[in-house]
Amino acid sequence: MSLIQAFFAIVRRDLLLAFRRRAEMANPLFFFVLVVTLFPLAVGAQPNLLQAMAPGVIWVSALLAALLSLDGLFRSDFDDGSLEQLLLSPHPLSVLVLGKIFAHWLVTGLPLLLVAPLLALFLGLPGQAMPTLWVTLILATPLLSLIGAIGVALTVGLRRGGMILSLLVLPLYVPVLIFASGAVDRAASGLPVSAQINILLAMLLLALVLTPLPTAAALKMSVN
């Protein structure tokens, strides 16, 4: 069958799998909502402080939620031998991997996108920053999945790779965090944000092209 069909077969299978184990898949979203809602309780009724912190709080929580969801990307495939079968497919592994990352984003990134505006409202983020928050989430959550995939592919063969995964991936997440929360922050004070958005867009496009290749290579190493 053609490559396009194989790509969508992977996406469909992973979405179906996510649906069958939805309790597990809802975990990162639950974590995201929990952290953001706990902040006002801990900080107290100081609307101005919460408003100033809102971009940072939302973005840090989104980033940690993405990190939490990463391990599931290749773990079950590695454990049950599906990964070996993917490697043996005549189709290029990098495209199949991109399919898996896309499905992972649909399951973990997209829900964040939907609840984030609600939570931002909850923290009192000014309405003028809302579109920017959305745009940064649309651009940067796939970026988190793409970058994270390299780290997961490298550590999936290790028995306790969780700690190493965070150490590997977090430094690469920091630029995303800086530009994304910076953009929302500037938008909240009515400043132009096109520079940050453009950089995020450039990073996303680069990652789309460049990350599937090392991910595929790392997976080949991990099954060795």
Partner: protein
């Protein structure tokens, strides 16, 4: 007469080392269409490692693998082979049918349709059962059904007889026999002493390949 036909798979002088210990060295064999090769050896003798080298998951420390006269990496070798390992490679949350459809999407359609293949491995009627509700032997037969629905010439089977009853073992034997008769090839490992009355078998003892 068939000996005049050149070997399709040729392994030349393969060498593998693990933790400063040589697993096997100078391992050479050829396999012609219609032949079945049984790798024997004690635990830890490198049977699985050899299969993983043949699958391209692992690089050999020396030696070459040729497919139709060309180095494996430059030929259609990886499109022509199929592997069933210790892990079944099926998703336990998905149904039998969903698993097979996905396997088909990753590969080229083969000799049998999904229904026919399920009939052959005696799993018809289980189409919509999630794989986690199947027994270990049924899971094994499902992973063998994957070999039937995809296009392949060389089967690489790692301990295909684990968790199968006598009937299941006979079933695999029949499947391998059919595959060989159609010009296919099979490489399998087993630590049992196996005799297949219907199959002409090549045997390699890995313990003697040091």
């Amino acid at each position: 007469m068939e000996h005049l036909q050149p070997a399709m798979l040729e392994v030349a002088d393969l060498y593998c080392r693990r933790d400063d210990r040589s697993l096997f060295s100078g391992l050479s064999f050829g396999l012609r269409p219609g032949q079945v090769l049984l790798l024997e050896g004690s635990n830890g003798s490198g049977k699985t490692t050899l299969l993983r080298i043949l699958c391209g998951f692992r690089e050999a420390d020396g030696g070459e693998i040729y497919w139709s006269g060309r180095p494996a990496a430059e030929s259609s070798y990886f499109a022509d082979m199929a592997y069933v390992g210790h892990a079944d490679g099926t998703k336990k949350e998905l149904t039998v049918l969903e698993n097979l459809r996905f396997a088909l999407a990753l590969s080229q359609p083969g000799q049998y349709g999904i229904d026919q293949a399920l009939q052959k491995v005696q799993l018809s009627g289980y189409d919509d059962n999630p794989v986690q509700s199947l027994s270990a032997g049924q899971k094994r037969r499902l992973s063998l059904a994957r070999l039937l629905i995809t296009r392949n010439i060389l089967w690489i089977l790692d301990e295909p007889f684990t968790s199968l009853d006598k009937q299941g073992m006979e079933l695999i034997e029949t499947l391998m026999d059919d595959h060989a008769k159609n010009g296919g090839m099979v490489i399998l490992t087993s630590h049992h002493d196996l005799t297949f009355p219907h199959l002409s078998l090549q045997r390699i003892h890995l313990d003697s390949c040091l």
